[in-house]
């Protein structure tokens, strides 16, 4: 059972490392884009800087989904199928929600 899982176990460490690494990389990307835009000649954000900041934001948005995906993989590898199924359900809800949202975004102008 997962209730016996110790805080320092493999899953916790893997998730913590992934989130810390992803957060660090995302922050650096956004910081670089922000500095570029601040030092750019036109006062408004230049196209490249906007793209860099946008990439960092995309990484931030994908991190929680990546975390859930990792949980599915780790639970299945550990043969903890009950929690694997729960994590898969959460992941499915995220994917369906995102897909529906994108589809609606395509229909509604704005």
């Amino acid at each position: 059972m997962s209730g016996d899982r110790k805080p320092g176990s493999g899953l916790e460490r893997l998730l913590a490392t992934t989130l810390q690494f992803g957060t660090g990389v995302g922050s650096c990307i956004i910081a670089v884009g922000w500095v570029l835009s601040a030092t750019g000649e036109p006062p408004s954000l230049s196209t490249v800087a906007v793209s860099i900041v946008r990439a960092g934001i995309a990484l931030f948005i994908l991190l929680p989904a990546l975390r859930v995906l990792l949980m599915v993989v780790v639970f299945v590898c550990e043969r903890d199928y009950r929690f694997g199924a729960i994590a898969a359900l959460v992941l499915a809800v995220i994917v369906v929600g995102a897909a529906l949202g994108v589809r609606v975004a395509g229909v509604v102008p704005g």
Binding site: W34, I57, L63, I94, G97, G101, A105
Partner: protein, 149 residues
């Protein structure tokens, strides 16, 4: 939106005394009630998820806040993709907010491990009361402000 993506969930396991009758009545539907109120009011789920977990499920306040944080991240991921695809996320606004959230969450995670549960709950009461005052003010002025917690 960005808060849930961050590390530093409080790994604290404590047992609280058995719940009272009101809590055991609330428990089976705590999530549903929380979801209904939050979605109808349009406020961030953390403000109500923490009291729901803390009161109805009798979880320690640190576990409640960490769990709530994780839940926000997962739910915001779905809507975040949609808003992003729609182009509603302005990099000029979201970039600085993301950086500030990272710094705040690192400090907050350290604070969470250092502070006692009782003090944390008192602090949260202050936040909830302030939020309620803000909502009342918004209601009387005829418009809602957005909360991102």
């Amino acid at each position: 939106l960005f808060v849930g993506a961050l590390p530093g969930n409080g790994r604290v396991r404590q047992r609280r005394p058995p719940s009272n009758a009101a809590a055991s009545f609330l428990r089976p539907t705590a999530g549903k009630q929380n979801g209904s109120i939050v979605s109808s009011l349009g406020i961030g789920s953390g403000d109500l998820t923490i009291p729901a977990l803390d009161t109805a499920l009798r979880l320690p306040i640190k576990v409640s806040s960490a769990t709530s944080n994780f839940m926000i991240g997962v739910t915001a991921a779905a809507s975040g993709v949609a808003y992003f695809a729609r182009g509603d996320i302005d990099p000029a606004i979201a970039g600085p907010i993301a950086l500030g959230s990272v710094i705040g969450s690192v400090l907050g995670a350290r604070f969470l491990m250092a502070v006692s549960g009782e003090k944390l709950r008192l602090l949260f009461v202050v936040v909830i009361v302030a939020l309620a005052a803000q909502m009342l003010q918004a209601a009387f002025q005829g418009h809602m402000t957005l909360h991102m917690t």
